[in-house]
């Protein structure tokens, strides 16, 4: 009897117990304390993680590119309300597809308090490419090492603590389909959001001395113009590459404003793109 009481009380003190404090809010979001973005390669289970956290039933399916709209939902954890945004899956944030632009713009201009990067544990190397790119833009991220059940099936062992040390952000192994690891993921999100965990994200070593000099020169100027910008280095690199969208953002000051960009509806977006494509092909002719 006394033994039993002991077990209950040790459960209550266990941090994982906090899952009892999880309240799935579905789409009932009028106000929130933190915004959390879900990024990741296609088909790594972002929507499954999204559903597990919000209690929504966003359609999931085993094919890449299934999430075609930006889904939003919410949950409340430890008394704080979180808005969760499910971004379309992308392999990188570099090239120019609509998906990559939506994902990149949200992380860049939407300024989520935490970006959860869902990665496929069985294809870690390729997934890390995206993780490293996200870590260049934001320094508040959590890596959700998903599909651990499949990694076990493929007899892969992943040292998640070493990975966390290498990346400088929390790494949480999960199997979202089975609900494994979700409590730990919640704790990690809350730790990063509330500043209990300070991320020291891995930054990519940037080649030549000349490049380093150029970056430093630009970063100083950018930080002077936009104080408090956390990703000046990334912006400097995009400017050096001549990324037209970032050039526009610097020129208009959008980079500094905290406003969330309003997105056109799917129909408008499609016809706009269609006109753009036609114009482009005319120019090429």
């Amino acid at each position: 009897m006394s033994n039993k009481t002991q077990i209950t009380s040790s459960c209550a003190t266990c941090p994982a117990h906090h899952v009892a404090n999880l309240k799935k809010l579905g789409v009932n979001m009028d106000s929130w304390d933190y915004v959390v973005a879900l990024a990741g390669n296609p088909n790594t289970g972002k929507s499954t993680v999204f559903n597990a956290l919000t209690g929504l039933r966003q359609h999931t399916g085993n094919w890449p590119g299934k999430t075609v709209t930006r889904a939003e939902g919410g949950f409340s954890y430890n008394g704080k309300r979180y808005k969760l945004v499910d971004l379309p899956g992308t392999y990188s944030l570099l090239s120019t597809s609509v998906d990559e632009e939506v994902a990149r713009n949200f992380i860049l201009f939407g300024r989520p308090d935490v970006t959860v990067i869902v990665v496929d544990a069985t294809r870690l190397e390729r997934n890390l490419n995206l993780v490293l790119q996200v870590l260049e833009i934001t320094d508040r991220a959590v890596v959700c090492l998903n599909l651990m059940d499949e990694a076990r099936r493929h007899r892969l062992q992943i040292d998640d603590r070493l990975l966390s040390k290498e990346l400088g952000v929390p790494v949480v192994p999960t199997s979202a389909r089975q609900g494994e690891g979700i409590p730990d993921l919640l704790r990690a999100i809350s730790d990063v959001a509330t500043g209990v965990y300070i991320c020291r994200p891995h930054r990519i070593e940037s080649g030549s001395k000349k490049l380093k000099q150029a970056i430093n020169q630009l970063v100083a100027k950018i930080e002077a113009e936009y104080p408090g910008l956390t990703n000046a280095r990334w912006v400097a690199l995009r400017l050096l590459e001549g990324d037209p969208q970032i050039i526009d953002a610097v020129r208009s000051g959008e980079l500094g404003s905290l406003n969330e960009t309003t997105e056109p509806t799917n129909g408008e977006l499609m016809i706009e793109n269609w006109k753009m494509e036609k114009r482009k092909s005319k120019i090429e002719d």
Partner: protein, 475 residues
């Protein structure tokens, strides 16, 4: 403001200045360093334990399912199996629902109307028109959808869909369309509106429009019953009793395959005329096969997909039922409005190998393809003045045995040509209003919505005309 503008421009100027010094390899070297770091980290944290499993399931399955020789036949077989299970499994629950909604509740409602002395036109309008149309749609649509969607979602969860896209990619590419159109095509077999929404997976607007416009050539759930009934009645009866089932099933599959052919042909045509352009390339990751979560799939596909689609259909069926009832009961010079319209359409209908009843039925049934057959039956009885069938003017009904169906059709002057053309027209006509509305929402363009609606109807009429002319020469 001015000073901040200046300093912003200064940033850009600095960047421009340095960019030329750094040279063009900057982008590549950045990507290289990302890849290098990723490989380094992954190498440190991942270890492979134990010996390799002797048999690699994923590999073996992929060899079979995406092979040049076995891929397409297996795909056809799987889809046939899904449709067969759907068709065979839907019969029993369908007739149970029909017995409940049409044979039990409907008379009860009529009695209730009589008991409270409801005027005949109100009870007719509400119970024979609105209620019966909704009840018919529920009993005909719910069982096949409740079987088809879960089966389809299981395949999806398992990871089969990307393999379908992989198998069909080169065909779609030849047609100037996007390989992922295969995914939207398969979704369309459940519901065209769902297929149109699924076209969002295609990035290029040009190819997305092609996928949206041609999705209509995927026979949807609402049209399978028409195909099966007409094939069983007219085509199956051409063969000896033992082979009748096989022949009629073959006819349905042939129509479905003809739909796939039309989808390729129309995509090819569009990508060379209205929607000129090259097929864009895309990379499609073949995901690992995953054991489907059966209970969860059942739950989500029944609740989220089936009920939503059904609800939409019911909402459209109600006003359609009301229109049918009104057309049959409003009389001008002692002849119902419906008969006037049928007589008006008859010359043109017969000319293209259909008839006035079918054309009127397709106009009334714009909201939902499911109500085509009941509307055709009702209008045929009405116009042929067939005694002993149906329950009065404007009452949709379902006949219990195939013999009585055939009698009704023969009395309406139907021939084998009418049947063949009805099957073709059911495949190639305007999308239902739900789909049209979805197309408008997805494209945001009235012009492309109009193209999606009118292109197939023109094609369908031309096709029927052609078949009728050839038929009349040959037969």
């Amino acid at each position: 403001m001015n000073s901040s503008n200046k300093s912003r421009e200064a940033i850009l100027a600095t960047a421009n200045g340095v960019r030329w010094e750094l040279g063009e390899e900057l982008h590549d070297s950045l990507i290289e360093s990302i890849y290098r770091d990723a490989a380094n980290i992954a190498g440190k944290v991942v270890t492979k334990v134990g010996e390799k499993p002797r048999f690699d399931w994923d590999r073996t399955l992929d060899r079979l399912l995406t092979s040049r020789w076995t891929g397409l036949p297996i795909m056809l077989l799987l889809l046939t199996l899904v449709f067969w299970i759907t068709i065979a499994g839907a019969n029993v629950p369908s007739s149970m629902l029909a017995a409940l909604l049409l044979d039990t509740i409907h008379p009860a409602l009529k009695n209730f109307g009589a008991a409270i002395a409801m005027p005949w036109w109100l009870s007719g309008f509400l119970f024979d028109g609105v209620y019966l149309a909704m009840a018919w749609v529920v009993s005909v649509m719910l069982p096949p959808m409740a079987i088809f969607f879960p089966l389809f979602t299981l395949l999806e969860d398992f990871g089969y869909l990307p393999r379908v896209a992989f198998n069909l990619d080169h065909l779609f590419r030849k047609a100037g369309a996007h390989g992922k159109q295969a995914l939207t095509m398969v979704m369309g077999y459940g519901c065209n509106a769902a297929g149109v929404v699924a076209a969002r997976v295609i990035d290029s607007p040009r190819e997305r429009l092609i996928a949206i416009i041609t999705n209509n050539f995927s026979l949807c759930n609402g049209r399978w019953p028409t195909q099966i009934l007409i094939a069983t009645l007219f085509i199956g009866s051409l063969a000896p009793a033992g082979l009748a089932g096989l022949l009629s099933a073959g006819a349905v599959v042939a129509v479905a395959l003809f739909g796939v052919f039309l989808m390729f042909a129309t995509s090819w045509f569009l990508s060379r005329t209205l929607l000129k352009g090259e097929a864009s390339s895309f990379s499609l990751e073949l995901p690992p096969y995953r054991p489907p979560r059966i209970l969860r799939t059942l739950y989500t596909s029944v609740i989220d997909r089936t009920l939503i689609v059904l609800w939409r259909a019911v909402m459209w069926a109600a006003p359609a039922g009301a229109v049918i009832w009104l057309l049959s009961n409003i009389k001008i010079a002692d002849v119902s409005l419906a008969e006037h319209i049928i007589n008006f359409f008859n010359p043109f209908g017969l000319f293209i190998g259909l008839n006035g009843v079918i054309l009127l039925a397709y106009i009334i049934a714009i909201p939902a393809n499911e109500i085509v057959i009941p509307t055709v039956l009702m209008l045929t009885v009405l116009s042929a003045k067939l005694a002993g069938f149906g329950a009065g003017a404007g009452v949709m009904f379902e006949l219990d045995d195939l013999e009585s169906y055939l009698k009704v059709f023969e009395a309406g002057g139907w021939t084998l040509l009418t049947a063949v053309n009805l099957m073709l027209f059911s495949l190639v006509h305007n999308p239902c209003s739900t789909t049209i509305y979805t197309i408008y929402k997805e494209t945001g363009s009235a012009k492309w919505t109009a193209v999606s609606a009118f292109l197939p109807i023109v094609m369908g009429l031309a096709l029927c005309f052609l078949v009728a002319q050839v038929w009349r020469v040959v037969m």
